[in-house]
Symmetry: C2
Subunit: 167 residues, 2 copies
DNA sequence: TTTTTGAATTAGAATTATTCTAAATCTTGA
DNA sequence: TCAAGATTTAGAATAATTCTAATTCAAAAA
């Protein structure tokens, strides 16, 4: 089961229809079988995959595709705003097809990553930005327990004994 | 001029006094000249430096220190919560001695990184967290123009002609 | 249609940041 | 003083990514 299914969050992506080709062409890029396939892997098959995960999945139905092509595709998709980079820690960069404002919730127990929405204007108000700054984009990551892992960890102990300190 | 000076933000660090030694000892670590020096470099000499920047600066007054020691020190400091990791993009990991809740503002024009405070409870309210999740920590990065770079870019054109879209 | 031009793909080399390893050195407590 | 273990170190190894240069492919021009 994918993280998206498990956490029961609706996927909302930038390119539901022919938008994919439009965005490529707007950047002077061609739509190719490789690009279509790589993009579909990121969108449909996995959640926030790394380049290597995309490569392995893409190879299943396109065995001759190379790692270099996967990297090239992903880089171009980021340039034409079909994907965003997600850098949760020192590890490999992940790719995210949800181009709406959202944060990434990383469960420290199961390792899943899922999207959590926020309102950009409200987020801005929470930040004590210096006068004159022009914020253009926000990247928010949350670490903690996801609902299913929290349930596992609390089902054996009574609520009052829980050491979990939500904040 | 350091980013901290330029952006005129007060530095507030976890270990102003003898807290440094206490935190090391609480994790079973010794206070050594190398550790003291590396920590002081991160705290006083640079803002959000990478391991390599710390190494180069530390070498100035301790020429025999090795890169391995710098990495070891930084890793231990993160473990005993004297420093936090900051991963702004694919590049090298940065280290931050401000252990209070805050976000990192990255200026896309000059490349400086400075701290921006937020209220943890308010941030939590802005996020549409799923029922049952237990958030433990937040990492917020903002990209945009810092006040000085914004001034440079707008001083030649009238305010109405500005293409800048703050949000 | 053929040619030309440049984009896309590729394998493998190179690079970058980081981690690992094993030896030497230093500290502390017995 | 000795033993145990922590610290430091150089350099090797690793992981992720980027670069390079050759090849293939596709669209526009002739």
């Amino acid at each position: 089961m994918s993280a998206r299914d498990k956490h029961n969050r609706q996927g909302r992506y930038a390119a539901p229809a022919g938008d994919f080709e439009d965005r490529l062409q707007a950047s002077g890029l061609r739509m190719t079988p490789h690009r279509e396939h790589v993009f579909s892997v990121v969108c449909r098959e996995l959640d926030h995959p790394t380049a290597e995960q995309v490569f392995l999945k893409a190879k299943e139905s396109m065995p001759d595709i190379s790692m270099a092509t996967v990297y090239n595709c992903l880089e171009k998709f980021v340039e034409c705003e079909l994907l965003r980079l997600v850098q949760l820690d020192r590890g490999a960069t992940r790719y995210c097809p949800n181009m709406h404002d959202h944060s990434h919730y990383y469960c420290e127990s199961c390792g899943d990553v899922f999207d959590v929405d926020f309102d950009r204007r409200k987020l801005r108000q929470v930040l004590d930005l210096p006068q004159g700054a022009i914020p253009m984009g926000y990247e928010v990551a949350v670490r903690g327990l996801c609902p299913s892992c929290r349930e596992e960890q609390t089902e054996d102990i009574s609520p009052n004994q829980s050491k979990l300190q939500p904040n």
